[in-house]
Symmetry: C2
Subunit: 530 residues, 2 copies
């Protein structure tokens, strides 16, 4: 398959009229083949109109039809074969095994939403029976169902060019909900984006989805992305990226005549709390696990462990030393883009220059461009509490150890943190349960996921996952961008009062035949479960 550099306005591939740009191989800083042409405002308008037109039909498709569409996308992605993997490698500097794993996760994610749709697990309608004889007033027949919000604009992330990009979790959950999707392609992997768009469009065609259910736009400036968020036909936004980018979109969406929800997943430093007995009983194991988690994907994971909190003690000292020893021997990895690399260098530079922070490890550095050298720093809780800048994310394989005097200070450090995607607690059987509980109580107020005796990198795609958390981890702590409940972001409830059975949505009719769970007069009923 030859890349065209064109935009997909529904099933039509059209050349953009704005400046063209190329992808850069971050391992060489060389431009790759194919010029990608930025869409203009008129082309963006066309994509929005077409998406809205598609919405009128797409929202009426059955759960099973949408499931077929999602599965067909997965199949079409696999059919791209090595073309996809090789292009993604060149555009991101990520190794083959990682990208193949990410592809599996992307396809698995589409299959998970398809399965959830087919098993009737995506929404639970609520029905209350009519009470015509009730006094003083009769009760109507009331049925609560969910409808999709409308066309959704999605901004992919650079750090997961497959799983959080064109056919990533945002797209999969919006399509599962019944919302057409317009993706603003990330400029760091435009070729990968085009390939995936081809897969989605061929699946849409194969499963007879309406034209406009999916579009892909390249943006030479920022006005196409901003234009999508401001467009009256767009009803929600999905975004994964920087805090600055996410908050800008939040503000734009709020200033519209009709404000719309923005689901932005932004920044997180993912504290790892080390209790004394965990360090005493399995210190070496913790060092190994921590180093692996820190360096995964050159630290470019939103769940990267950027903060370690422990008690100032010989055990923590030993953990720090052993981690430093390991990291000092590690060679650097290529980062995703020159921009991410320079932001990393600047972030690390601030820590190096801070008189309150000690550098305890610095990995080796390749000769190649855009290298991420792993770092470990250390500071006191006093310094950490006094300086808000130390709590900001440094995106890459750098972490900061914070040494606390006692439990009070330990809790104060957690309390001072911004909202996070994850928090980790390592404890052993001799750690006081009351301390563990007190730390857990504080942590859960800050995060979307709390984990014991593990590491935060690696986000399972399942029913119980929460990849979210209080601001600035995300823009909306009530939601998740990974896992089955991600679909809820793109739905809203509608109550149907005394609507005749024939006019009701299928899921709300008397005696449903499709698999579904419903709450009927306060009792959960199951229909047609496989």
């Amino acid at each position: 398959m030859t890349l065209t550099g064109y935009n997909a306005i529904g099933q039509h591939w059209v050349k953009g009229t704005r400046e063209a740009f190329s992808a850069i191989d971050p391992s060489t800083n060389q431009a790759l083949d194919t010029a990608f042409f930025g869409a203009d405002i008129e082309q963006m308008e066309q994509a929005c109109e077409l998406a809205y037109h598609a919405f009128r039909h797409y929202r009426k498709t059955s759960a099973s039809q949408r499931a077929q569409f999602l599965n067909a996308i997965g199949k079409a992605i696999m059919a791209l074969g090595d073309t996809l993997i090789l292009r993604a490698m060149a555009e991101t500097g990520l190794p083959q095994a990682r990208l193949e794993g990410e592809r599996g996760r992307t396809v698995g994610q589409l299959a998970m939403f398809a399965d959830s749709l087919q098993r009737g697990l995506t929404t639970v309608p609520r029905l209350d029976s009519a009470m015509p004889e009730r006094t003083p007033l009769p009760r109507a027949d009331l049925r609560l169902g969910h409808i999709p919000l409308g066309p959704v604009a999605i901004f992919g992330a650079s750090n997961f060019p497959l799983a959080f990009s064109v056919a990533g979790g945002d797209t999969a959950s919006a399509l599962a909900a019944g919302c057409p999707v317009i993706v603003k392609a990330h400029s760091a992997h435009p070729g990968t984006s085009e390939l995936i768009a081809h897969a989605i469009l061929s699946a849409a065609s194969e499963t007879e989805m309406p034209d406009g259910v999916f579009s892909l736009l390249f943006d030479s400036h920022r006005d196409i992305g901003q234009g999508l968020v401001a467009h009256p036909l767009i009803k929600a936004v999905g975004f994964t990226g920087s805090r600055a980018g996410g908050t800008a979109l939040m503000q734009l969406a709020q200033q519209r005549p009709e404000p719309i929800p923005v689901y932005a997943e932004m920044s997180s430093i993912n504290p790892v709390c080390l209790m004394p007995d965990a360090l005493a009983s399995r210190g070496t194991q913790l060092v190994d696990g921590f180093c692996t988690s820190l360096q995964m994907g050159a630290g470019q994971f939103c769940t990267n462990p950027g903060l370690v909190i422990g008690f100032d003690s010989p055990e923590l000292e030993r953990f720090t030393e052993q981690t430093a020893e390991k990291l000092n021997q590690t060679t650097s990895q290529t980062m995703l883009t020159p921009g991410i690399h320079s932001a990393y260098e600047a972030g690390v530079g601030k820590w190096i220059q801070s008189p309150q922070v000690a550098m305890v490890a610095e990995g080796e550095r390749n000769e190649k461009p855009n290298q991420c050298t792993p770092y470990l720093f250390s500071t006191t809780a006093d310094a950490f509490l006094a300086d808000q800048a130390l709590r900001e994310e440094v995106f890459g394989a750098a972490s900061l150890v914070v040494k606390c005097r006692d439990m009070t200070q330990f809790i104060a450090v957690i309390h001072a943190l911004d909202g996070q995607l994850t928090a980790t607690l390592h404890c052993g059987e001799h750690d006081a349960p009351a301390d563990v509980q007190a730390i857990l109580d504080e942590l859960e107020l800050k995060v979307g996921r709390v984990l014991f005796n593990g590491f935060p990198t690696g986000v399972e795609v399942c029913y119980a996952m929460v990849h979210g958390g209080p601001f600035p981890a995300t823009s909306d702590a009530r939601t998740t961008s990974v896992g089955a409940t991600a679909i809820e972001r793109f739905l809203r409830p509608v109550c149907y009062q005394d609507v005749p059975n024939d006019f009701l949505p299928e899921a709300l009719r008397d005696g449903p035949s499709k698999p579904i769970y419903r709450l009927e007069d306060g009792v959960l009923m199951s229909y047609g479960q496989p």
Copy 2:
């Protein structure tokens, strides 16, 4: 019980230091007894600090403890007896029967949340089992539960001094979720507010809830209300009132360093669509039902039918004439406040002055102050489509009939509407099902509740209710402010990964004993249902 005019900062009643104000009897424009002293910023700060302190304990109470608290509030409200009803009558001009009905609804609403908590229906946790043998990577044990957001600021409405005010749906659902509440009292019914606050605080004391679980503040200016929304310890806002007030709070909440959700229920004109066979087969019945719905509570219902859409026809002409005849003979009713009355007069005045709008009915007018005279107006769909001003809410007993040429124009009129709380469709057995379906399809995109062959006033408190809808009906179409799911506004999901059973929240532990539904590995399980 003698009114004090004091603020409740938790269990402590303190005199505000700002200007005092009195309640006004709208039927006489005379000030009522008792001076209410506006809280100052420091007192607001104290209420927030106390609420946050209470939150640390309150969030850990069991569902059953919170249910007891809610039921005790209901009991304490009933114990206020006629004192409450008489004061509310004096402050609002609403008749006794209406206020007694509203009290029943308020107490019933508290009982509904209590029941929902006790039956384990408020949240459905999701559990995914560990798969230690899975390759290439094992799966952790993952459990998704819900935790309350934190202290909530609530702004009561003037039009429901009991059901949407101090102990109304917002307060009941926030307390049910585990969030402490600070109410900014509505200045139109401060005495009613103080009485209800006494009931809540006596219930809190009786059921041993932490001090600060509830506070009540009077605001002489606007800075206490705004200060609450901006306060870092406040984590969500509930509001029922005007569009201007609601959007101002939305903006304020979005500009905070940590943006928070605002659940504002604002404006709605609640279109009523009349199909030909409905008019032909039960025209007189429709006239009666419509007139009753329009004038209920002097039209001061958020679900008031402010718009009628029909086909230009002799049947619609007859409906309009008969309605006009009825309304012309109707006497006026006292409105809630001088402000609401003058806004109504101004809104009606615009319609009277519009050359495109014909006045077809004007009710009689009492000599008393602040009277709402019922009005009916009529216009063409062409005029309605051309003038955005005709789509704005006029809060009171006035409605506008829009005459459409054909189905295309009928759909265009609906399409042009802003988001609404409700839409109503009246049809008969001879109306073409395809037309009914097309209108329903268009209506459901605009509203939170669609109803057939009924009238929108009267909102049932039950599992399936949606009292919400797209902006500007509310600030967040994904939620409802009435019904059991209102509690979801004040909760967020947290995923617990490999957390030992003893440290898990009760609802997520192995083999739960309390009534609960859980989704376990994709299968809905029921535990201990009564």
